[in-house]
Every structure is written in C-alpha cells, then in structure tokens.
Symmetry: C2
Subunit: 678 residues, 2 copies
C-alpha cells in the first residue's frame, strides 16, 4: 500500500495515490480524468476549477481532512480578487494534494462536457470539437540553433500539449512573427486537431492568453429555408439561431424546377451556386451580429442538405440527380475549406458536409440518423422526415434501412385549394362535432377554438387565411372519423354524411370549413381534389415506410419519430387515422423537431460523431422505391384511409372508423397516380 495520499475524482470515480505536493491538475491528467485547461496549468485560464469535498466519504472509503489540499495561494488569490471563484472551488493547477481527498470536477470544468438536449429521450451531445485552444510558451530564436518561429511553436505544442506533427496554414505564417513577439513568446493557439485527410493545423493565434471563445455554425441548408445555429465551441451553447429564405427560390420553388433551370440555362447551376453562397454569407453576417461575435472567429461550419442542394452548394451541376439512376457526384462526407466555397468566415475555417445516403436521401437524412440514432436503438424505430420528399429510416442496433418517397408538397399546404404555409391565420388544429358534423378549429397565433366567443376578436389582425399542412391532416382525419369522407377518399353528400357543411361542388362534394366572405375574408373549403392530394402524399409516405418494413421482415414498428419542423406539429392520432404512419401506440409516436439541424449541431460539436455517422451511413441499406415492384402495390393500398389492407389494430382500439362508402359509380379509385420527385 502506498503511503502517498489517495485522490478520488468524482463523478468519474478514478482514483490514485500521489506524492504530497502534486497539483490536482497533474493528478487528474495522470489518471485520465476529464479536467479542462487551456493555459496548461499556469494559473491563467481558470478552466481547471474543482470542488474538493471534506469529511467522511464512506462510499469511497476516504476521510478528508481540512488540510487535505495546500492552502489558497497567491495565484488563486489574484484570480479571486480579479474575477471571483465560486465558493468552495479551487484552481486545479494550484491546489496541491497534501492528504487523502475527494475532488469533484464540475460539469463546466470538463473538456468533454455534456451538452444537454431538450428532449428527454435524446442523447446528450459530448462536447469534443475539432478545433481547440492551447496556451503555450515558445522558445525564443537562438542563432546557435537556428529554426523557424513556427517550428519552435510546434515544438511547444508537442512538449506542452502532446500535439504531434502540427502544420500551419499560409495565413498563420504571415501573422506568426509579430504575434509571438507581441505576446513575449507566449501565445494562445487555435489548433484544428486533424482528421483522416488533414494533419493537425494551426488555425489562429493570439498574443498572450486569449480569453475569448471559438465559434462554429451548424447549417441545415433546405430547399426553402437556410436554418443555422451559431455555437460556442468552448461551451457547446447555441449563441444565436437564424433562419433565412434560400435565395435560390427565385430559380424555382422546388428542387426539380431548379434542376430544370440548370438544364435550360447556360451557367444556371453556377448562378444558383453563387446565390446560395451569397445567401449563406448574409446569414453568417446576421447570425454573428445577433450573437455579438466577430464572424472571423467562426472556425468550423457543418452543412446538411438534400442531394440537389448539396451539389448546387458545392458548385456541381445537379443534372444527373434529375434522372435515373440519380447518380451523386460524391456520396461520402466532405472536408473542405470555407474559402473554397467562398464563405466569408475565418480564412482557415473548415467545412464539413455529412455524407449522402443515396441520390434522393441526402446529408440531411444522414443528420437525422445522427440525431435520432436508429442504429443505437434497442427497439425498432421508424424515423420519418416529412417534407416535399420524405426521407424514411427504419432500424435498430442490428440494421438500418433508408429510402425516400416523393410525398409532394401537399403536407406543406401546397396544391390544396385553401392550403397555405404555416403562418399566423392558418388553420392548424381541427375538431368536427360528432353530432352537428361542423368543424371547429384553431389558427396559428391563437390558443382559442373558433367556437369561442372571443375567437374573432383575438385573431382580428391575421384573420383566418387558409389551412396549413398539419391542419389539413387533422381536417381529413376528422372528416374520415366522422363519416364525411369514406375509406376510399370520397366526400359523401350532405344527405349521406348528415353534415350541412357538405355541398355539391361540380361532380364531387366539398366541405365548408369557414366562411369569412361576409367580412371580406376567404371561404375555406376542403374539396375532394384536396382529399386526393393528401391521399397521394400520405400513401407515398406510408408505402415507403411499409417497403422498409417488408425489407426488414416486420409488420409493425415499436416507435415512430416524426422529424422536420412540420413533424413537430402533426397530431399522432390524426396521422395514424389518415394512415400516414404505421399502426403504433400513440405515446410511441414522438416529434424530434428539426432533427437534421440537430444532427448538424452534433457533428459540429463532437468530432467523433463525424466518423460515427460516416460509418453508420456506410452500413445503412438503401432502398430505391422507384425500382421496387411492391412499392406500387403498397401505394395503392395506402391510398385508402387509413389503408385498404393493413389492419391498424392499435388505431382501431382507440377510434371506430365508419365503414360506409359513398361510391355511387363516380370517381372513387383513390389517388394512385404517381408523381415525380420534387
């Protein structure tokens, strides 16, 4: 048994004996305890704060005396006077071990901090960004042993931080000499720690000790919206978030029209590339201003996007993505320089693009896989990212399958007669009265139901303007539950349905939701054509999921995760009545919000997650729905509401769907037309 004092670190539980006088930081390093330090133990950075515990620790078998650590020293006193230490804290690099002691490393003193995510079921993000700060003291030049300033800086990084083979960008060489001299041969260096394509590389340096932070952006580059999070790479915090329209919209609302634009116009792809990069730079300006930081401190950027945006952003003509076999120029993850993409952030900033899964399942789907981790799930999870194309993942620890399915824009309110984007005034919640068969609803911007006396007054400014995607889903599901629409998707007559709101509308019937014409507002109806659009969209989604279930060899899934901003607003019950998603317990249908954006943030903050998702994507089995014969069959079955053949037992235990049909020989075949991908 050693006579040296015993040190126990919590929460890791790592323990060891150290000679009296050993600094706590030294002990932590020797034991591999995750205790941060930027200044390397020189009492400058205060990142190594620890909380010693005193008294009896029976769990660890240690009794800690009051003098277990050395007395408060002048460095700690100076820090206390200047900035203040939290009560009970010590600087790990100053406090020396004098007796048995239990040392707690608070979360903020850990290098690999856990960044907590809001959703209870989501794994925390381990903070481990590729670029970190290191304070070093560099040897001065010596004519007897001439070497470059850079080489001596690299020697310091090797000797003081065990960083081997560090290189520097040209712009570092151009600023190195004055910085070293201004800092009296003490500098803080931002080092990108390297990856499989690059050795470690100095990104930036500051004379003396740099007290600031480094930043990164996680960007979800959507066809419509560019959403970004500006993150502090030292704390993992989101400093600012931003969402701007993708300036490419002027070249076409959906992706196929942008591909067409590039085909029809010489230089069109390059024009769209310039537009999206310019949009990105505007966004960087805005988000930096909002976060109150210098955008030159953004040293890393992670992008997720669908394959067409991926190619256009990189300056690759998306021509091949517009036709079978939908060949990507590259599918692997990309490590680039921000400069090569004309991005005006730090001149040495890096860019990471997540891998694409297939020609229609992009880096955005990979990011969803990183965020929702079906490959780490014990139960079988279906992850659906609902958008103009739905990306669908199905899997568990054993295997993950992926496909995309062309849902079309109906879920975004497009191609629906009273449809609109989600915005104040849009109907988002619907309930039909079982007796009167009249709908009441809520609109975005108000919590009141439309039959509340205060409703009209409260929504005054926006009025009722239309139905958004989640509204139309609830609408159609409610119509189905209350016998206004039958299983094949036909709206009955007022007589058949018993609803005074149904009216004959040409060869079919329509349902009146809201009549604001008296006040100059819209008349909002659901036409049978609207029902058909929703049927096609949901059938595409369901049949993609069902195809993956076939390939997996299962008839049911344990849980369903709805990803995408839209997914966050869908009512699980209504989605299941519609037959959008497979039958599952309602409490097992959850929303992940913008999972693609979260995946981008994980990849930004945790460099290990990059190799991880690349490996995951390599192992994902891709299914191309276009060449799967059963897809068509599933699509036809899924056109019925909820489904012509699937039993949906869990759904049927909750609601009883009318079995009556309204077919009187007219159009009732359901929307079996396939649409091409958007």
């Amino acid at each position: 048994m050693s006579n040296d004092p015993l040190v126990v670190f919590t929460p890791s539980g790592k323990r060891g004996h150290f000679a009296k006088g050993t600094p706590v930081l030294t002990a932590a390093r020797q034991l591999g305890v995750d205790l941060d330090s930027v200044c390397g133990g020189r009492g400058i950075c205060s990142k190594c704060q620890v909380s010693p515990g005193y008294g009896q620790f029976s769990k660890h078998g240690v009794t800690v005396a009051q003098d277990a650590l050395s007395e408060w020293n002048s460095v700690e006193q100076r820090y206390q006077d200047k900035r203040g230490l939290i009560e009970g804290r010590r600087l790990g690099c100053q406090a020396q071990i004098m007796g048995d002691v239990v040392i707690d490393v608070p979360a903020e003193s850990q290098v690999h901090k856990q960044v907590v995510r809001k959703r209870a079921e989501a794994r925390d993000i381990v903070l481990n960004p590729p670029t970190k700060l290191f304070y070093v003291e560099v040897l001065e030049p010596d004519m007897h042993d001439p070497s470059g300033d850079l080489e001596r800086l690299c020697d310091a990084l090797r000797d003081q931080w065990e960083l081997e083979n560090v290189k520097a960008d040209l712009q570092i060489l151009q600023t190195l000499q004055p910085a070293l001299r201004k800092g009296a041969w003490k500098v803080t260096v931002a080092v990108h720690l390297g990856d499989d394509e690059n050795p470690p590389r100095i990104m930036h340096l500051w004379p003396g000790f740099y007290e600031g932070s480094l930043y990164g952006v996680a960007v979800d580059l959507g066809s419509t919206t560019i959403a970004a999070h500006l993150c502090d790479l030292q704390t993992g915090e989101v400093v600012a978030s931003s969402g701007v329209m993708n300036p490419q919209i002027r070249f076409g609302e959906d992706l196929m029209s942008r591909v067409s634009y590039s085909m029809m116009n010489e230089g069109g792809a390059a024009e769209m590339t310039r537009a999206v990069r310019a949009g990105m730079n505007t966004m960087f300006d805005e988000i930096s201003a909002e976060g109150g930081i210098d955008k030159g401190l953004i040293v890393d950027a992670v992008f997720v996007c669908n394959p067409v945006m991926h190619h256009l952003f990189l300056g690759i003509d998306p021509f091949e993505l517009g036709q079978a076999p939908f060949a990507l120029a590259t599918s692997n993850a990309l490590r680039l320089r921000a400069m090569d993409l004309d991005l005006n952030i730090h001149p040495s900033a890096r860019v990471y693009l997540l891998p694409c899964i297939a020609g229609h399942v992009g880096a955005d789907a990979a990011a969803v896989a990183l965020s929702e981790a079906p490959d780490k799930s014990d139960d079988l999870v279906l992850v659906v990212d609902v958008g103009t194309n739905a990306e669908i993942l199905l899997g568990n620890r054993d295997k993950v399958l992926a496909c995309s399915s062309p849902t079309g824009p109906a879920f975004e309110g497009a191609q629906i007669s009273s449809g609109q984007r989600a915005a104040p005034g849009a109907i988002e919640r619907v309930e039909i009265d079982p007796v009167t068969k009249i709908a009441r609803f809520k609109v975005i911007g108000s919590d009141l139901w439309s039959d509340d006396p205060a409703f009209e007054a409260e929504i005054g400014a926006s009025g009722v303007t239309g139905i958004c995607g989640s509204g139309i889903i609830e609408m159609v599901a409610e119509m189905r539950v209350h016998g206004i629409v039958d299983a094949p998707g036909l709206i009955g007559t007022a007589e058949q349905t018993g609803s005074a709101n149904v009216f004959a509308d040409g060869r079919t019937n329509s349902y009146l939701v809201y009549d604001g014409t008296a006040d100059g507002g819209p008349r909002i109806t659901v036409t049978n054509r609207d029902i058909r659009e929703i049927q096609m969209a949901k059938a595409a989604l369901y049949s993609g999921a069902r195809l993956l279930m076939d390939k997996f060899g299962v008839d049911k899934v344990d849980r369903v995760v709805l990803a995408g901003a839209f997914g966050a607003h869908i009512s699980p019950k209504h989605a299941m009545i519609l037959g959008m998603i497979p039958d599952a317990p309602l409490d097992k249908v959850t929303s992940a919000g913008n999972a693609a954006g979260t995946g981008a943030r994980i990849a930004l903050l945790n460099t290990s997650s990059r190799a991880e998702i690349e490996e995951t994507v390599r192992n994902i089995h891709k299914i191309e729905t276009a060449i799967e014969p059963r897809f068509q069959e599933h699509f036809v079955n899924a056109s019925a509401i909820p489904n012509a053949v699937e039993p949906f037992p869990i759904l049927n235990s909750i609601v009883t769907l009318p079995t009556e049909t309204f077919n009187t020989g007219g159009d009732s075949s359901g929307g079996t037309r396939r649409r091409r991908r958007r």
Copy 2:
C-alpha cells in the same frame, strides 16, 4: 523445380517461373520489375514496351526459342499500324509467356527512369514525380447500390491500381460527372500520390485515354533573376527554360534594401509579394508558350530561394530577417497549393518549397545540398554557392556543416570602380605579361585576346565596357602574381612594380587595364579601393569556409565545388591565388553551374528526394558566423592575398608569389571592416 517457363528480366536480373499464357506485364508486376503502364494492361498506352531476346543466354542459363512469346496479336497489330512499334519490340501487356524467355525493359519503359545529368560526377535523377497518370474503367451507377461517381472512381483506382484512400479537390467534383459519361466510364486520372500532409488526391481527369503528359516547373527564385525549368513529368525532360528579372528589383537591388523598403513603407512587403508573384505568372506564361504546352497542365512547382525571397514570396514580412537573431517565420519544407500563392497554373497544382537551413542559409542552399549531396560524399567536399551572400557547405557522409557569409556584391562587379554585371563587353579573362606587366584580356562575346589584331573589329558592337566578377578575380590574382599588388593588398608604385600601367591616384595607386577614351569608350582601371572590396569579399568567403573547417576539425578539404552561375566562370587557379577558397588540387576544384536550380529540378522529378533533403537539412549543423569569435580572426587573416597565415602548399607548388610589400606607412591594413549582410 517448376515446369512453368522461366522469365528473366534485364537489366534488373529479376527472374521467376510463370504459367504459360501469363502476359509479360503481369510477370513483371509480380516480380516487382520496373515496367511502366498507364492503361493498366489494356493495350492502349504502349508504355509497357519490352524487347524479348532470343537464342542462348549463358549468363542467365536460358535458351530462348522463337516461340517463347505468344504470336503478335490484333492489339499489337493495331498499335503497329497506327503508330509503329520499334523493331523487335512487343507490348508487355499483350505478349504472353509461352517458353523460357529473356525480356529487356528499355529505359523509356521504366517507371523510374534515370534522367541523366550532364556532369560526369553528378548522380542521375530517378524519375518519380508525385503526380502520375492512371487509366481506369469505372463501374456505372446502380440504383440498387447507390454510391457517388467519385466513390466508384476511387474504388476503380483502388482495385485497378492499388491506390487507397484517394480524395479529390472540389474542382474535380465539379467536372467529374460529364467526364465519366463522355469517356463511357473510362477515364485517365492524374493522381497526386500524397505526402505526409496530404492523402492521395485526384488532380485532373480526362475522358477516355489521355495521350498527353503532365508538367512541372522547377524555379530558382533569386534576388535578381527568376530562373525556371519546365519539365515533362512523364519523361523527366526539360521542355523549356526561362530566366526573367525579379520584378522586385525596383524595390531595391539587394535583399537588405528590400527588407528596408518593407520597413519604411506601409504595405511594402505585400507590394513586393504581389510583384514577385506577378513576375512568376508572367514567367509561367512565357515558359509554357516556349514549351508549347497548356500552362493548365503544370501540376507541380518547386521553388528554391534565399530566406528573404522565401518570405516575400509567401507573403511573410521579412522584417525579422533584417536583424539578429535572423529568425525565420518557418524553416521546414512547405507543401502548399499554387492557388494560395496566386499562381495561375493548374487549379489544383501543388507547390513545394525546400526547407531553409537557417536565417541566412535558405532553401537555395538546401537545393545545392540536394544537387551536390555532400552528405553522400566519401571525400570531404566544400561547396560554395557564390553570390551576394555566399552559402557554404562542408561535409561528407559523416557530417555536413553550413554557414553563410556576407561577401557583398563585389563578385558581381558591383562596388568596383569599373565593375559591371556579366554581359557582352565585360572583361572576363585576364593575363598580365610577366615582363611588360601589361594586361591582356578577353571580353564576354569574343574568344579573342585583346592583343589579337582582330580583337577591336570583333568586339566592335559591344566595345569593352567594364570588368565583370570573374574578370576582377583574375585581374587581382594576376596583379598579385606579377608583383603589382602585394600580399596585404597594396598596389605598388610604377617604380616598385615595374609596370608602366600603374599610376598614382590620390593617396594610392591604380592600374590601367584599358583606355578606350580615344574612341569615346571607357578608361578601365583597377583602383586600390577595388582591391580592398575584393579582399573583403574573398575574405568573407574564405573565413566562412575556414570556420567550417575548424568546426569539422580539418585543415584541408579534398575537393571544392563552385556553385552558382558566377561559380561556373571562375578560374580555380585565380580563385586560389586570391585565397577565396582553401588550398586544394586544381583538378579537384569544379563548377556545378546553377546547382540550386538543379536541386529544384531533382525535387520536382523525384518525390523521394523531398523527404531526403528534409532529413539532410535537419542533420546539417548550422554555424552562425556573426557570433563565432574566430570568424573575425579568420577574416583578418584572409584579407591578405592569399592569406596571412595559411600555407597554401598546393598553390605554392604551382605558382610562386612575390613576397615584397609596398607598405610605406600609408593605408595597408587590409579590409578588415565587416559589412552587413546583403
């Protein structure tokens, strides 16, 4: 014993048994025989031509029958019809082994061809450039197993050429898809094979089989002149050479004045950086035009230069190089992208800068070390690169030492009263008549001596304009031999020297070389001040060499190599009379021409030589003359002609130097002033 036929390859002597029907190329690859192929054995490139030998080969113990190889096939016939094969040649990929055979691989079919250098004593260059061509057949995209076109191209490179982990620049991604389709999934790819900072990377690709070559430039970036060789990377040949003035000259003739310019003028360093890069681009335009190639095919560039040019070219302010301790921003070799230096060659072109040895011993000295390889010499060699600064290397297999010494510009004809740059009309050879003590001379542009009756007519156009560096060396040496200048460097009176050409010139004497004033030409004289300048220059050079000899622990060297364009014109005898170089057998004093440029060419053509010179430079022991007390002592001794203390026994066995001195109490102490570095 195998019953399979025996194949013996010459000149390697590698041998082995192979099943009948094995193509010669396959056998060569399995034995590790250096047989080239770009198309991978598909009968397209014709790089694998071999010469089978028939009959009795007693040395190899083989008798080769006429049917030892398969008959001429249709691929060979087609090649013969289209381009013609040299008599007796076969295509190694087509000819199959049918019986015992001896196969000669001609030099041009070897991958690692030897590029022969002109000088007998110089090692040949092994051709092994970092970028090579590979023809591949790529799998078409498959919707059942989606992957990017790049990933399938990389798979092809792995499967067909054993190239692992190949990456691509962004610009390749932007051109990849149309090229693959245009070439019907067959492409030729230029791959940079990677180095310690970079994985292998695709530089360029061509649809189908590319019949052209790739090019590189080796640039010696001097203070005055930029000299470049454009080389074919497939053959090693120099396609064109170019020399242009360094446009930085307008900021200052010598390096110190450029450093001053950058110190005195805000943005001056950046201005000089722009100037030299622009000059480089002009040079690339010219050299490509001269070589008749597209400059976009220049994929590699190697630069050697002194430390100040090195920094200015890289955009680093050379401020620190202007003052002790002469700290380089970086001393290691640099691997950069041409784009980062604003060089308009191939967009993915690489740049390699050789390492600097010390603050005054630059990448040019490293290139001399690579070319002259003192570290591989069995005998002790002194390598002197004579310029405004002399870089001096001394060493053998055991050890190499290096220093620089501030010779000043006297050897370039500057600061000499009648001095000029080497140009037509400049005196370059001198002989003084032992009896009349009158000089005769030759000028650049003529082979006649000045006492030849046809001389005046022949040089008519240029006239006699001044004395260049090599001329002044011979002049002073001849004056010393013939008793016009004494050992301390004093010109005697006409009476003391017995020369009618000596005349009193203020407080000292001068020597008339040529009087062209009657025809409106110059009066060319050597003043005692000129002698002092030459004394200082040669003393600096000698004392640097002598210091290295001290450090090495020797009193003599086995051989002396004079490098630099100037070195090529120095008469070894006169240099030794002057005491510029240590005493050595005259036939052991040779000229290496532009050894720095040759070193750049070696680094360009042979990628292995880069790691080699980096290792060599790491092991070179640098001596800083400025802080060596003995340097001053050596300098004072070396001010005498040839030397106040060194015996020069070999020199004395060839010439007898007068011992008389002219000191009459006036200025005769020899030039012991030190000059600052240029």
